[in-house]
Amino acid sequence: MLHLEGVKKSYLQANGEFLRILDVPKFEVATGEQMVLVGRSGCGKTTLLHIIAGISRADAGTIRIDQVEVNKLSEAGRDRYRAIKLGYVFQTFNLLPAFSALENVLLGMTFARGKRDTNRARQLLDRVGLSARAGHKPSAMSVGEQQRVAVARALANRPRLLLADEPTANVDPANQQKIIDLIRDTCREEDIALVLVTHAREVADQFDRVDRLEDVNRVVSTPAQEVS
């Protein structure tokens, strides 16, 4: 369901030179498939996810999800596509601090369809084991709970593809497996394809398909730089 072909991305640096980050000839994920993307820090994993999500624009190439060519959409079109087809879980959770857990889940629905489905939001919170904390603000929750809310939020619009960018990097080991299980189980239940970026070997080892970005990406000499 996800096809990338000839996707290139480089950034213009302050010194006027282009910094090449990505040159991906081919990258595919099947419907409902769950895979892990690994690679050393700064090699462009987040950049790739951003391009898939339409947050960043590729310099060249095609990105297709269910026959929709993301790179050819207008910005507003990419916003809509992102809202409806995609779920995104961030390393830093990125819950909005002003809103309760339930409201954070509802936010995604608001942007996608303009209306909210409180029942589904509650079901999802129930699914991640936080139905009792629906009214709590993120600041009142542990990091593990926050990330579970973020997972529920990412799934709110029944996406076709879930992108998870190091979802357990900031979570304590006890919660790590819980969250991975949660993501994998719900994706399986709802037939959602999953691309999960991780540094944790014990997480990667649980997946059938593990791609090293260095293998996918023809750009090899990106500077090793710590970027979240």
Partner: protein, 524 residues
């Protein structure tokens, strides 16, 4: 989650900053409301007082506005006077004849005929009955003719046009307050209020009388503010000072018999004395070459009483205070029996060289238009500036928060919010803040009005309550938009104006939200 809810949540999130911003807006709006209300009260009291209960002022030729200011508001430099006899042109024959029975010429005439009659009576004792009768007839005829020539036997020229005419004599002061010499008609006949149907009420005592056995011609009535500020009441006495507030005292002559209820008219701030008593004060007789007669006729009442043997007389003395020729009035308040008559009368008076006739309402309206228009504009500009300053504080508050919020905005965008959506959220925030401040300020301003309403009503007669809106700014001239702006209360313009202002000041932060680089801001 509506966008408004989202905006509201961000406002709540920055609780203190939002609160302070809204407070600054509230203070601005409160000031606007207060300024508009004060202006409204002033305009309203001006208008209330411009339905005066009379439609013409007759006074000395000269400044029309000055005459109006003097007579209606008891303000401005004193005006010249007109002869008392001119006032008598507004009264019917009977009253005029009665008044003129105390002229010098009438008394001279009467004295002459008395002498003549006495002579004839002595004569007739000697002559035959018929001849005596004949000469008596002839004598009476001649006397009547003489009276005709003295212009005593007719109604006032304008009396048939006149519903009432009230003379006023100005120029004296009681403390800082103007003293008005007039007749009891001032309160018996004159009505006030927008429909000119409210009678002047007395909070204590009664109206003064033309003459009473107790006080003679020396009764007075004081306005509510005069009573309060001079600390006087019924039973107290006072002496008008001449010419200016620091002028010389006339002696403690007038007894206060009544205190007026607050009416919100200039009468609150004036003292009223019986005109007959006024004429009896020193300096008030118009100098005239009548030597000894002046001495006689100006004798105080009581002393000249016909049955003065046991102290105070029970009826008004026959001898009047001051002969008509020596009297002057500052102005006559005239209510004509119809507007047409009013115009005819004004024309006729203005053609003469003695007096002028002004329509006070016209003068007041002209004055109001002339200086109130610019004042309204200035008020509007000042209040608009206050709101703009408050608006800028909203701008600063939201804009300062933008650097912190780039990340949140990026998250919303990553969740699928479009650029216009996040821009709308920021604009809504600005609008909500200014509306919250606006509503609070409006309520605060009106609460202040309510608190002050008693005072305002006492001082101006304008009653306001919590919900009364400032009246439209009718005299505004703003690039020809005055008539449109003047259609409704300026307070109603506050709502669209605040929304517009909020959108303008919210635009910069909203634009910054619009331009947020999602990929970059997500990382931070």
């Amino acid at each position: 989650m509506s966008l408004i809810r989202i905006a509201w949540r961000s406002i709540q999130q920055r609780g203190l900053a939002s609160f302070l911003t809204a407070v600054s807006m509230a203070l601005g709006v409160m000031m606007v409301v207060a300024v508009l209300s004060v202006h409204g009260v002033v305009a309203k009291s001006f208008r209330n007082n411009s339905s005066l209960g009379y439609n013409q002022i007759v006074g000395a030729r000269g400044g029309r506005l000055q005459l109006t200011m003097n007579t209606v508001f008891y303000l401005s430099k004193p005006v010249a006077n007109i002869p008392y006899e001119y006032y008598l042109e507004f009264v019917p024959e009977e009253e005029r004849r009665a008044a003129l029975s105390h002229t010098l010429r009438e008394e001279l005439h009467a004295a002459q005929w008395e002498t003549l009659n006495t002579a004839m009576a002595i004569d007739s004792q000697h002559g035959a009955g018929l001849a005596a009768l004949g000469s008596q007839f002839a004598g009476e005829l001649l006397e009547a003719q003489g009276r005709q020539q003295l212009d005593l036997e007719r109604g006032g020229k304008f009396s048939q046009f006149t519903a009432f005419a009230i003379p006023v004599c100005l120029g004296d002061y009681f403390g800082p307050f103007r003293v008005v010499g007039t007749t009891p008609d001032m309160f018996d006949q004159l009505r006030y209020g927008p429909a000119s149907d409210q009678a002047f009420e007395f909070s204590a005592g009664r109206n003064f009388k033309r003459w009473t056995p107790e006080h003679g011609y020396f009764e007075a009535v004081v306005g509510a503010s005069v009573a309060r500020e001079m600390n006087v009441g019924v039973g107290d006495g006072f002496s008008p000072s001449h010419g200016d507030p620091e002028g010389d005292q006339h002696g403690d002559q007038f007894k206060i018999v009544g205190v007026l209820e607050y009416s919100g008219t200039p009468n609150d701030r004036a003292a009223f004395i019986n005109m007959e008593g006024f004429y009896l004060m020193d300096d008030h007789a118009k100098p005239i070459d009548t030597g000894e007669l002046d001495e006689d006729t100006a004798a105080p009442p009581g002393a000249a009483a016909p049955d003065g043997q046991h102290g105070r007389p029970e009826t008004e003395p026959v001898v009047q205070s001051l002969p008509v020729e020596q009297r002057e009035v500052s102005a006559v308040l005239v209510r004509t029996s119809s507007d047409i008559f009013g115009m005819l009368m004004a024309d006729s008076i203005n053609k003469s060289n003695v007096a002028q006739c002004v329509q006070p309402i016209r003068e007041i309206t002209l004055l109001f238009d002339e200086f109130v228009g610019p004042v309204q504009l200035a008020l509007l500009v000042v209040t608009a500036l206050i709101c703009v300053v408050s608006g800028v504080s909203i701008l600063v508050s939201i804009y300062n928060s933008m650097s912190d919020r780039k990340h949140e905005i990026a998250v919303m965008r990553a969740l699928g919010a479009s650029r216009t959506t996040v821009m709308t959220v920021i604009l809504l925030e600005s609008v909500l803040l200014s509306m919250a401040g606006g509503v609070a300020g409006w309520a605060g301003g009106h609460a202040l009005n309510t608190l002050a309403s008693d005072q305002i009503e006492q001082r101006t007669g304008v009653s306001i309550n919590f919900l009364s809106l400032a009246p439209p700014l009718e005299n505004l001239d703003l690039w020809g938009m005055g008539p449109i702006i003047g259609l409704v209360s300026p307070e109603l313009w506050l709502i669209p104006a605040l929304i517009l202002l909020a959108i303008i000041v919210g635009f910069l932060p909203a634009l910054s939200a619009y331009q947020t680089d999602v990929a970059k801001s997500l990382g931070s």
